[in-house]
């Protein structure tokens, strides 16, 4: 094979070796993946501007001039503000009783401290804007918008030598963001962890690739193996976005209980449930999701009411490290996570497996 199939236009654009993007909330994973020849994005939506600035400096000290990204969840819509008290008062009694029943049935303890969730109003336009401003000031190599359109910031970012990635769940969003000038578009399918769009990875990736022109398209959702990487390239992607894959890596600061659960999980152990936040969200099954899926359960509430209802359970499970109660957002590819490996090895295994797929397809040595 004359050309290395893994050296894509995304690799060319970023000056990296492998078209693998790790999305993580752990700085150590970012440094390990970047130094292994991949690309990594640190999720900073929950961090203050000062913390974001410090994290950018920390990563730079570990990776030198190699590129990396910072991800924020730019809001795309915002309801009129309400107080926490008013929101809590909006939870129907039937739902409170059902949550209390779960608490008693599974002996869920009280949370140890004040719930982070109860800092209501934690992300509005103003705070997101301040987070974004520090990313511009620090000239992070890449800004990734995990939800809303980054169009308004593209010019300012490009003037600072930065690149912008947009993560989308619909083709019309991709078209809008490509026209606005994003450097890379990440097409996220239904298989992904957390709150995804309704379109499957196998459908949205070629659909977006067909309209992307020269803009590299990255496939997201259910990607955990080299086979997935090879398949994504065949669909027209220039790389893959992986999240769940790193949650059980050696460098990840996730609780060991969660790592063990992820390693033990099969694809059938994730559930697309509205019981956690009120939005459909893919997570590992747990007593909370299972009880709300029963026919006798009340209909789940919308956001933010359902999240306010589930927050006691979530915080208590984590505070007390109750393995029987804890859960994590996880994509359908979780079944392929079978060991706690160093991030460098995960990258190497994925590359080797993808090259092997291409060799089997073509009968020629790849890479």
């Amino acid at each position: 094979m004359a050309k290395n199939p893994l050296h894509t236009k995304f690799c060319e654009l970023m000056g990296i070796e492998y078209p693998i993007i790790a999305f993580t909330h752990c700085k150590d994973v970012v440094a390990a993946v970047v130094n292994a020849g991949g690309f990594a994005v640190l999720g900073e939506a929950m961090h203050t501007p000062d913390e974001i600035a410090a994290d950018i400096k920390w990563i730079r000290s570990r990776v030198g001039s190699k590129p990396f990204g910072i991800d924020l969840v730019l809001p795309a819509s915002a309801p009129t503000a309400d107080t926490l008290e008013k929101l809590l008062a909006g939870i129907p009694e039937e739902h409170r009783r059902f949550a209390q029943m779960i608490k008693e049935k599974y002996d869920v303890p009280e949370p140890k401290g004040q719930q982070a969730l109860h800092q209501w109003g934690g992300l509005n336009q103003e705070i997101a804007r301040k987070q974004l401003d520090v990313i511009l000031e620090e000239r992070a190599p890449v800004f990734v918008s995990g939800l809303g359109s980054p169009a308004f910031i593209i010019k300012a970012a490009h003037e600072r030598g930065m690149k912008i990635f947009g993560l989308i769940g619909k083709t019309r969003q991709a078209k809008r963001e490509i026209e606005a000038g994003v450097d890379v578009i990440v097409a996220q399918g239904y298989d992904a962890a957390g709150h995804t769009g309704p379109i499957g990875t196998f459908s949205i990736v070629p659909e977006v690739a067909a309209i992307a022109g020269d803009t590299p398209v990255i496939a997201a959702g259910g990607v955990t193996t080299g086979q997935h990487l090879a398949a994504a390239l065949c669909l027209g992607a220039s790389g893959v976005w992986t999240g769940t894959l790193w949650l059980a890596s050696r460098e990840s600061d996730n609780d060991m209980i969660i790592k063990e659960k992820l390693i033990a999980a099969t694809s059938d152990d994730t559930v697309y449930s509205k019981s956690v936040s009120g939005f459909p969200m893919r997570v590992l099954r747990c007593p909370w999701t299972e009880e709300w899926a029963k026919p006798e359960a009340p209909r789940t509430l919308g956001s933010p009411y359902q999240m306010l209802l589930s927050s006691d359970y979530i915080q208590a499970a984590n505070d007390h490290r109750r393995a029987d109660l804890m859960f994590e957002a996880a994509g359908q590819g979780v079944a392929f996570i079978t060991a706690m490996k160093p991030a460098r090895q995960i990258v190497a295994d994925m590359v080797e497996e993808a090259l092997s797929v291409f060799e089997n397809l073509t009968g020629e040595a790849a890479g």
């Binding site: 819509s77 804007r129 301040k130 308004f152 933010p304």
Partner: protein, 90 residues
């Protein structure tokens, strides 16, 4: 997190007032680092707010005919890049 006010400019755009629009919206789920997607459709009032510089523009979508189940209220602010102005479906 510091709560100093960023400069905002409010205004009214008569060119879009009364137009039907869809919003591919969403935001961060409170207390998590996770994004949620949610869809709205309704009528643009024409009101807008620009946050910061360069301006980050948001439009007010009212008289909602589509909103997530349990969404409180009949109006939503939508970020301009996620707003699709179109003909109202019959």
């Amino acid at each position: 997190m510091a709560q100093e006010a960023l400069p905002t400019v409010t205004g009214f755009d008569p060119a879009i007032a009364g137009r039907y629009a869809e919003c591919d919206g969403g935001g961060m789920v409170p207390g998590t680092g996770l994004a949620s997607r949610e869809e709205f459709a309704g009528t643009l009032s024409g009101d807008y707010v620009d946050h910061g510089d360069p301006p980050w523009r948001w439009y007010l979508l009212t008289k909602l005919v589509r909103r997530p189940e349990g969404y409180p209220g009949d109006a939503v602010w939508c970020e301009s890049g996620n707003l699709f102005v179109m003909e109202k479906p019959s």
